[in-house]
Amino acid sequence: MRKYAVAAALLLMSCNQADKPPAIAIDGAWARATLPAQTSSAAYFTISNKGGPDILLSISSPAGDASIHSTSMDSGVMRMRAVPSAVVPADGKLELKPGGLHVMVMGLKQPLVAGSSIPLDLKFQKSGDVHVDAEVMAAGSEGAGM
């Protein structure tokens, strides 16, 4: 009997965790400046979450065709692929960074110039729409605040 009570309590707790609304903040958003003739670039940021889990469903930008991409490394071969969505863990972080998950912006209408910014519209399953302006940094940059 006691066992069941513990199990029920645990179940309830886990439900609580999942039911808790996500509390999302986006930090360190930056994008790489384009070079002459380059019409695509990547943007990065960290999504921190102090609540229940959420899912990043899509990203769009008036600047070009944005999508969520992931870079994977397999025996030294770099592959970049679109991913349909990305999970933001409960009480955790989802990092978009060079060499991993990133925002790929293709077909840029204008070059990205260092010092300017690029608007990104993120759509989350629970948190809804979130707008971010990513700071454009020189092509040789390794990240914000580095």
């Binding site: 003739a37 990547a42 970049m80 060079p98 040789g140």
Partner: protein, 197 residues
């Protein structure tokens, strides 16, 4: 008593003989072993096209160590990340002239000398950008065991490609590789090896 002394001397003699044999064979083995490591013929000479649209051959790289990396200018993530990291590590290893960074495109269709020049100049430090005809690039990829494949992405395309950095000493001999997921310290140790040699 006398017998015991004899036995001890016998053991000492035996140990000396064994040591002598080990030293001799050790010497004989170690020399050819150093010469026959994989280093020798990997890669080999090539002729490509420089960012000034003039032919660029391996002989122009002689006399200075170099880090060779294959990528493409439309690459939004891995290539700029790797090149920026190499520029930073080169400064840590002794400065912008410690060794050459050579960037060869795997996308000659979009990357002509002009594109390579603009790209190579964007990192605030000297990078040698090289392109060539589709045939020249395919040949160099084969020489260095580089995988590259066009992948459609929307209306455009991207490239899957080997992202390992290849390190050569000042004589053009292959020394080591740096993989993208390797830590900075390990990478720096390898770079110091090519600059010291």
């Amino acid at each position: 008593m006398r017998r015991a002394r004899l036995i001890i001397w016998g053991i000492v003699a035996a140990v000396l003989v064994v040591l002598g044999v080990l030293m001799l064979t050790g010497q004989r083995h170690s020399q050819p072993a150093q010469q026959t490591t994989v280093k020798a013929d990997y890669g080999g000479p090539f002729t490509l096209v420089g960012a000034d649209a003039k032919p660029f051959g391996t002989e122009q790289l002689k006399g200075k160590p170099y880090a060779l990396f294959f990528g493409f200018t439309h690459c939004p993530d891995t290539c700029p990340t790797t090149l920026a990291r190499l520029v930073k590590l080169r400064r840590d290893a002794g400065g912008d002239s410690a060794f050459n960074i050579v960037f060869v495109t795997v996308d000659p269709e979009r990357d002509g000398p002009k594109e390579m020049a603009a790209y190579s100049n964007a990192f605030g430090a000297p990078i040698i950008g090289l392109t060539g005809s589709a045939g020249q690039i395919a040949k160099v990829e084969k020489q260095f065991g580089i995988y590259a494949k066009k992948v459609p992405a929307g209306d455009d395309y991207t490239m899957d490609h080997t992202a390992t950095v290849l390190l050569f000493d000042r004589k053009g001999q292959f020394v080591a590789t740096i993989s993208p997921d390797e830590g900075d310290q390990a990478a720096l140790d390898k770079l110091k090896r090519i600059t010291a040699a």
